[in-house]
Symmetry: C2
Subunit: 286 residues, 2 copies
Amino acid sequence: MDASPVASTSETHGFQVLGAIEDRYDGMIVEADLLPSTVEEFRSRLEASILHWKAQGKKGIWLKLPLSHVDLVPTAIKAGFGYHHADPGYCMLTLWLPEVPSTLPANASHQVGVGAFLLNDAGEVLAVQEKNGPLRGTGIWKLPTGLANHGEDICAAAVREVKEETGIDAEFQEVLCFRQAHGIAHGKSDLFFVCALRALSHDITPQESEIADAKWLSLKSFREQPFFADRPLFRTMMDICAAQARGDYRGLRLCASGGDLQYQMYVGEVASDTLQDDTDTIKQPQ
Amino acid sequence: MDASPVASTSETHGFQVLGAIEDRYDGMIVEADLLPSTVEEFRSRLEASILHWKAQGKKGIWLKLPLSHVDLVPTAIKAGFGYHHADPGYCMLTLWLPEVPSTLPANASHQVGVGAFLLNDAGEVLAVQEKNGPLRGTGIWKLPTGLANHGEDICAAAVREVKEETGIDAEFQEVLCFRQAHGIAHGKSDLFFVCALRALSHDITPQESEIADAKWLSLKSFREQPFFADRPLFRTMMDICAAQARGDYRGLRLCASGGDLQYQMYVGEVASDTLQDDTDTIKQPQ
């Protein structure tokens, strides 16, 4: 969070206001290093601090409680704070002071999954059967899939999942399409990116823990599985994959990353080479 | 979470094991409705339950504590549970029992943002100046942007942000490109989708709370802002937008949603109309 290094050391009604720094949105961030060690002192100072910040016209208060201060969580909740998010190691609580609705940003809302479409030199698709989850025991062959790890690029996640599940080395080619869905894990949303990869090895070693079987399967056999028949989502994905295999489709490729931020950008192909200074030739949207 | 409706009512060392149901991954989900009301009873029964589940070979234990049971959070943490996630209203704690590394899925890892590229009939781009954030006071004109709300489709978020920030009515056309970055808000990752929209109205009403100014600006003036000069990310985004305006670029369009899951799927254009039964003509990846 962006914050100016101005600690507040005011006193209110004889209680010392909690150590906190201002953020760029007229809010305060309580400093975890300066938290009182007893619940009773925390309760008194928190109540005094809330009055003080309210009088100052402050908006959002951020209170990050590490595991070592878990005893303070109930006190903060009873003082009006709510859960913002938690991650292994800490719990983040917030309090919105103004009468108007909160403009505090919500926590991460999406999990990111990848599916890998991978052909060998014979035009066969890399297919797996899973040991866990809703498809276990059904005999259905599917693309290797998985969730991106914390901080992992989509392109890297696709390569890693293929390697983990099948032992196949591969390199990322492009994002073919993606699907957004809601209400998935704990009510959160899900973004699933179908990625085309190029195989760099051929011999399959199925992952012991998660994969019941893995093999190269003809694309025709793969697509003709009855499971796909009444599932337009999967049918469309496979249509896209087949079109890409024919050379009839262009997805979004990786664009060089850089700048202040470490990022990966996925862009389509621009028909013309003249990217700059061509704004006189704009074609109106239809 | 998928679970079978088999409540456990065993006793261990005289203490009643907590009410819990089994999930599909050899784990247990503690039933929030059946939680003891006192911290002391919870402590005793939780310890007995952990021993019992461990002896049964259970793996991941899920403990969801609503705000009404916040007093139990410190007890659970001291019994070995860790934070999995929290949302307004509850805190989810987990305990992994086996000696092998945890395979519990992580919580949502990404926030989703949208930027809207919108031209009027004169080929001018809809541009705003923000009151808050890192660009406030800089005079830089930018595309309307914002975070998707909980459960909101990317296409809907882009239309909503444009309406909120400028009063302009618009319809979604396509996702032009997207950028993934890490370590953004609370260490989470960010997916930012640049969307092309079609304007359905012309008169601008800047949002009071967040927008300092908004206007239609020539695409040339917009792109030639010095701010973009050493920022390849933004330059590339604007190149893509300009190419789309010229008709030289195709992004990912919305594909009809449906099936068991409510979803939105974004796909590119397939060059050939023959989507099915064409797997004999596969072109090998280069």
